[in-house]
Amino acid sequence: MTLSPVAKAKETYTLLKDKILNWGRAWSLWSVHLCTGCCSPELMAVSCSRFDAERFGTLPFPSLRQCDLLFVLGVVSEKMAKRVKLIYDQMPDPKYVIALGDCAISGGLWWDSYCVVQGIDKVVPVDVYVPGCPPRPEAFIQGIMMLQKKIQGKEV
């Protein structure tokens, strides 16, 4: 079967489109600057020059309209949970969520608190969980790499 050049180009395009798009998405994950709990100093360490998450294309960005990644940094209180939901809804698709810290995963240290949401996955869908209290910067970066693999369709 011989294809005309136009059809060939079309086929190649459909094959490559997702790959290129996902490649672009994976390496330009801009994260919302939302601090919910006490894991936030580690975000600071990660985004500065020693650990430098920008190597992986992740950069906290002030405006959430241009962001596609939401870091849930630790403990989420009932009051903050409404904000997290609001911010998640305002972000453009495709969007990803990384839950950082034991608190964001399951309530962690505050398992018997009266005002802490026991696990952020009750509020927003989570892609990657990074345990630790607080997670080390290396774990942080591993979480970002896992998300990149997930976006590129590879096995995590």
């Binding site: 919302v32 006490c38 600071m44 009051k79 904000r83 018997d112 009266y114 802490v116």
Partner: protein, 359 residues
Amino acid sequence: MPVMRVKFGPQHPISGHLCLALDVDGDVVVNIEPDIGYTHRGLEKIAENRNYVQAVPPLERANIVDSVHMVLGYVEAVEELMGVEVPERAKFIRVIMAEMSRIASHLYWLCLMAVAVGLETMLMWPINDRELLLDLFEMYTGARITHSFFIPGGVRRDLPQGFKEQTFRALSYLEQRLGDYDRMLYQSYTFKIRTQGVGKLKPQEAIKLGLVGPSIRGSGVKVDVRKDEPYAAYDQLEFTVPTGKVGDSYDRSVVRLREMEQSISLIRQALERLPSGPIKAPAPSSAPKGETYSRVESARGELGYYLVGDGTTRPYRLKISSPSFRNLPAMGYLSKNVPFADIPVILWSLDLWPLDMDR
């Protein structure tokens, strides 16, 4: 133009977890209302449901950039209640840890202050130098910022081998860096023009508002718990309490820089004079009936713990008087009829850390 209400935070690079409701008239802020509680975790109640040693990890998370002081205040209160005498060596180790934590906290503050005036390079420098101290903490306790290393009666383990030499090396490097900060940030035109004369507080006003820590010392009032009511080994060490003159944001910033220099000298003294002996005294698991109030000078100011014991292994009541909460009224007082761009500067010159405000 009508007055408009704008929410500043909690999704904002400068405000962190704090939310401020601003009434703005054009570019001028006419009124400000703090909307706190976004990171409330019910710490006091949680501590009352743990026994005395178990309460240490949750309490430490109240102020994670200055976690050592958070624990130190609690541990001092418990020891006072139980009537435990801490060994000398543990006291000196506590001073070393506390001062290291103060420097780390001030460095963290410095980068946020620099971002508040719009200098991005100064975001990178102090955070990187803070890593030096975090490495020291890691060497000693195994954790970067959450150590849980003080327990009623002393400290958990002795200093590791080579800690002293590495600390001295880190301190001399830091000392030189503080000079760099002075030249790079404090003498820069941008920083001066953005902070001098902004958020001015007279000594009387500062006292009336009940400020604590570097914020009140910036106005020239010399209060420091380390001097006034010495705890740990501060009565055996020499240091001065730096104060400002004008009481504006610039002075408050300078006070913090000078404090870091004092902390470096304090760590050196404590390491040189470190006595030998035990590091832990046996402490009972339950406290007798009674109440106590202990205070320490944390990086943000005076931190008080009110503790009531009822003869069981758990505190009957624990109340934290946190420095950021006590500095919060000044935020409302200072932000009347100021330009919007000055709000971050005033906020960070007071060093309000929302996590220990909400507890």
